[in-house]
Symmetry: C2
Subunit: 222 residues, 2 copies
DNA sequence: GGATTTTTCTGACATGGCGTTAGTACGCCT
DNA sequence: AGGCGTACTAACGCCATGTCAGAAAAATCC
């Protein structure tokens, strides 16, 4: 789903196959370098020459492994993707205790955001300048809209979540998460993890489980 | 605060003064064209040549009025800014009825977003590729964080809003608004206004005024 | 109503990043 | 040693950018 090598529609030519591996080595060297680069400098300063200079390879080598910088970003995103989806499961699968499942999922999300904030920001920054990457990024975000929305509907059926149109609310909450994570953890000096977590946690819970909120948030009603 | 002309630190040379005005005319012709362009095509397709071709002027003329495309975007943003700040006042100033003030403000916000969605998306898209514009955009968003946070603190003092650290929550809610508006109204086929409004409205109110939520949202407690 | 100054505009250039192509270097096999 | 595939690179053409010196058009003067 990303670049040359892995099974891949849409790229003009697939180069380098997985099994033998001097290639795999240089490829991941490039990925590493890119990763390191983006931890300290914004995507706009990343140029192919710029990137490969921190490598022992020539600029043209880059094009043997990636179609362009956006292709590189897509690959980087895919590396993070797993962690996020993983973390989300706590809430999505725990039918028993919605509130604490959500707690857990959001905590996991914030953790991943904290670790890979620079990648997330870089991808979000890179997306608007490339149609394909923009589509990938939006699809990525959109996939959460779907599952969150489904879970909300489920909790509404159970009566633990107020009635409302789930999809737009899911979208809003997800955009919030994305925006907050990138804002908080996208630059060199990262925000306080607990502070961020408790802010988004409060918003999710107030919105989805307001009946619990009294106890859970610890505040009297009327 | 934007480009050549208006009082303006940081631009290398200020050209064209306001009062006499053949210049002002071409300048706004360019702005108009840019505006029109961005209503149907993304920022990444906007090039100086591209833009000026839809004008009766040459490419170089562009540089008489703007430093670069990002400068143009900054000017475009400033034109929208007013409307948004304006709309926010309803809630910020209405001490009497927080909930309905917030209703009003969010409705105004969604209206502005609906009208100028393409500009907002274009600016957000353009920001990451230019340090200066990125700073402007973040400052713009950040300014709302400040005022919203202040208002929250005030309502907490009054006891109508639960106790929590206001700033991170304000930030999260604002990022949500920005993300939602751009997502919903940034492309050619815009989302349903009422749907968007009621989603973000619900989230804001559940979070800030949960004690009202029961009545206002119309759902039984426990 | 022609000359002069000021305003507005433009063609032509240099720069820099991009992506491709033709070709080189190296290891391995037999 | 010759041939083959893998891994790499130097050099090229392209396109958008921003600048600059000077042309054209408008305004002003006499």
């Amino acid at each position: 789903m990303s670049e040359k090598s892995e099974a891949d529609a849409n790229s003009k030519r697939v180069v380098r196959q997985l099994p033998p591996s001097k290639a795999a080595l240089t490829r991941s060297a490039i990925l590493d370098t890119g990763n390191r680069f983006l931890e300290t400098r914004p995507f706009r300063e990343l140029t192919v020459a710029n990137l490969m200079a921190e490598t022992e390879h020539s600029r043209s080598t880059f094009y043997l492994y990636f179609n362009d910088l956006h292709g590189l970003m897509e690959t980087l995103l895919n590396e993070v993707k797993g962690g996020i989806v993983e973390g989300a499961r706590a809430w999505l699968l725990n039918e028993a205790d919605a509130v604490s499942g959500l707690h857990e999922s959001l905590r996991a999300l914030v953790d991943v955001g904290y670790q890979h904030g620079s990648i997330l920001k870089a991808v979000a920054d890179a997306a608007p300048s490339d149609e394909r990457l923009e589509h990938v990024w939006e699809t990525f975000l959109g996939s959460f809209d779907q599952v969150v929305s489904a879970r909300i509907a489920q909790d509404q059926a159970k009566g633990i979540t107020p009635e409302f149109d789930p999809l737009p609310v899911a979208r809003a909450l997800n955009r919030m998460d994305a925006g907050v994570l990138i804002n908080a953890f996208g630059s060199v000096q990262k925000a306080n993890k607990e502070e961020v977590l408790s802010a988004i946690m409060r918003i999710w819970i107030s919105t989805l489980y307001p009946f619990d909120a009294a106890g859970s948030i610890g505040h009297r009603f009327k």
